[in-house]
């Protein structure tokens, strides 16, 4: 469950058990919706012939064809410096590139 103590504090309901109960109920509903959605999402991916994996380096989740033997993480976690015509240098994001396994 999400950090209930934090939520109680930011909603200023420390002394309101009824509203604390409402927060607990909302969180439980959200978590169930996420779990149910996750299950449906994985079923949909399987039906589409897709697999997924979490990047061991950056934690981003990627989806790829189940037959793809060498998928790589595409999260924009890297930085590449580029030099342009006027001589100035700029940083642009680049893919994580870590090999993934389904």
């Amino acid at each position: 469950m999400a950090d209930l103590a934090h939520l109680i504090k930011i909603h200023k309901v420390e002394n309101d058990p009824a509203r604390q109960g409402m927060l607990v109920k909302l969180i439980a509903e959200d978590e169930k919706a996420q779990a149910d959605n996750r299950k449906a999402l994985l079923a949909q991916r399987a039906a589409d012939g897709h697999a997924s994996a979490i990047c061991p380096k950056c934690g981003a989740e990627s989806v790829f064809d189940a037959s793809n033997k060498a998928p790589k993480c595409g999260a924009m976690t890297g930085i590449t410096a580029v030099k342009v015509k006027d001589g100035s240098e700029h940083n642009i994001p680049s893919p994580c590139g870590t090999p993934l396994k389904a």
Binding site: A2, L7, I10, H11, L23, L26, I27, D30, E31, K32, A33, Q34, D36, N37, K39, A40, L41, A43, Q44, D48, G49, H50, C58, G59, A60, E61, S62, V63, F64, D65, N68, P71, K72, C73, G74, A75, M76, T80, V82, V84, K85, H90, I92, P93, S94, P95, L100
Partner: protein, 213 residues
């Protein structure tokens, strides 16, 4: 005299008292207080500086609907930056099938979060960028909902840096229902054939709400 906000007392069908916030303007007119805030609605956003790694991309961003929530996309914005000036045509498309990925890899944008720190932090919609390669076959096209041109330029020329915003804070949101409902942001090959300008980076921002309707 400034505008003041007070509560007007209303009665419902059972003669129970309700309070309605009203504004009183300097002329003494009393008008209902309109609120653009939506308390209790789960609002999410995601934003990425995405280096367009495929030379002439088809689908660039894939938004997949949720099995448990209805998704309403309130804002989509795409802006360009590049080391050599150029333009790209873009489309917002609805897809009714996932398509064949081939060597393409969809990576969920990991920075998505909730606008309100209220309850839990994770949305159910998945927003992914497409990397490594284009889809072998893009998803079945259901409709083209919007199209636009995005200028890519390093120089601060305002006419080249205007974002394309297929939807911007509108109540007429694009809706996604179910995990077999997709909206995609398409560039290049799938939208008229523009290659990515050299060093092209797309600045993409998406806002949406999720509810159980």
């Amino acid at each position: 005299m400034a505008v003041t906000t007070t509560d007007a007392t209303l009665k419902d069908g059972n003669n129970a008292t309700l309070l309605q916030a009203v504004h009183t303007n300097p002329a003494g007119d009393v008008v209902p207080a309109f609120s653009s805030d939506a308390p209790g609605v789960a609002c999410y956003s995601v934003s990425i500086l995405f280096t367009l790694g495929v030379a002439t991309p088809t689908e660039v961003v894939v938004m997949q609907g949720s099995a448990t929530k209805t998704i309403r996309l309130r804002k989509i914005s795409v802006q360009g930056w590049s080391t050599t000036a150029g333009v790209m045509k873009w489309k917002l498309s609805r897809r009714t099938a996932a398509g064949t990925l081939g060597s393409a890899v969809l990576t969920a944008i990991p920075t998505q979060g909730k606008n309100d720190s209220g309850t839990v932090a994770s949305p159910t919609m998945t927003v992914s960028t497409v990397g490594t390669a284009n889809y072998t076959t893009v998803g079945t096209l259901g409709s083209i909902n919007d199209s636009g041109v995005v200028g890519f330029n390093l120089a601060a020329q305002i006419n080249n840096t205007l974002p394309w915003t297929p939807t911007a804070n509108t109540p007429e949101a694009f809706v996604l229902r179910g995990t077999s409902d997709w909206l995609t942001l398409d560039g290049g090959a799938d939208a008229g054939g523009d290659a990515v300008p050299a060093g092209g980076v797309a600045l993409i921002t998406i806002h949406w709400v999720e509810d159980a309707s």
